[in-house]
Symmetry: C2
Subunit: 214 residues, 2 copies
């Protein structure tokens, strides 16, 4: 499977969001460069949340109006915190939280990796993650779903993605997390640049649905 | 399935460990009371670690001696931290960390739960968790395994158990975490007391292997 080789670009946090970005000419799946598509990157404490439903404050009394479910989707240049993201899906109605954390490995195909750099075609990426949340809710009785993806440079051992899902009983959140990361790798347009000691290359995820088209 | 009803006891952190605790007369599976079996409960920063192998310091260079695998098993009265436990399994060799967090739900069979109280037959519980770690290593190529169980009172929405497993690729840690929590529920002698608004009762886990014997 050939890798998608595209020119490198400098990732920075002062990039602007195209409100209605057009698809790149000649390729529906060519990733937008970070200076075209990245929104201003807010910190973890003021991050963008896309809520599928209105949020109700947590209530201690189970007889009161039931807490509404949340889908929290975030692409950010900030370092991801397992603790903060797991707290977003806590619910007094739930006995289980399952999480997946994708981290940068120090090696790939025998080469020493220094860091990874991620870029996404953001509007499409957000839509695809939102669809995955919808699919999950069709398949499993989960409560809250949080999907956070870091963009830009991610050094070795740091997290590029964290998925956290809560449910009343454990089977739902365990199965939903596996489904979420498998489907995200296959369907969400995110590119990574592996930065080796002496070279680098951009790649789409080898599992992505359009990988076999080239 | 009937629940195991036993008298309540006051859990405290100043209890002593019986070095060779005998089984309770009349029932091989009657839980030891906390004042018989609980060791002094160290804080999260000075917790007891049972390492299956010696630990090597993390090395940045993948050409150096490979970092050894760790099984970190801890029963503690301290509040559990997802962040601290996930950090214990980070490895530069790994691209995946999967976690399961079991939390106290605010309801059980239509009754409002105030908190849960956990007790374990500690020597057997530790052995069983160690066996589960061994089984996992037979089945999946995982790197580090951390299993932390809180004992004593666990209020609604707080964690009673956190399992974190790292692996080079995600399938191994995702499958291993599911196996770990399923097997722990079935095999590890841990009892929980559900404390309702107006009553309480001790129960073994309904999935435990001796549940059908009574």
């Amino acid at each position: 499977m050939s890798s998608l080789e595209i020119s490198s670009s400098c990732f920075n946090q002062e990039t602007k969001l195209l409100l209605s970005p057009p698809l790149a000419e000649g390729s529906a799946f060519e990733p937008y460069r970070s200076n075209q598509i990245m929104p201003p990157m807010p910190g973890i404490k003021k991050k963008r949340h896309f809520l599928s439903e209105e949020c109700e404050p947590l209530r201690g009394d189970m007889d009161e109006v039931e807490e509404k479910s949340k889908d929290i989707i975030n692409f950010t240049a900030e370092k991801l915190s397992v603790d903060e993201i797991s707290k977003l899906v806590i619910s007094p109605l739930c006995g289980a939280i399952s999480l997946f954390v994708g981290t940068t490995r120090n090696n790939f195909e025998g080469k020493k990796v220094i860091s990874l750099e991620y870029e996404a075609y953001l509007p499409m990426a957000e839509n695809e993650v939102r669809k995955i949340c919808g699919d999950i809710r069709q398949k499993w009785p989960v409560k809250h779903i949080a999907v956070f993806h870091r963009l830009g440079l991610v050094p070795v051992s740091e997290a590029s993605i964290i998925i956290a899902i809560s449910s009343a009983h454990r089977a739902a959140s365990l199965e939903a997390v596996s489904y979420a990361i498998d489907t995200l790798k296959a369907k969400v347009p995110i590119w990574k640049k592996e930065i080796y000691e002496e070279s680098s290359s951009w790649k789409r995820n080898k599992e992505c649905f359009w990988a076999s088209n080239n």
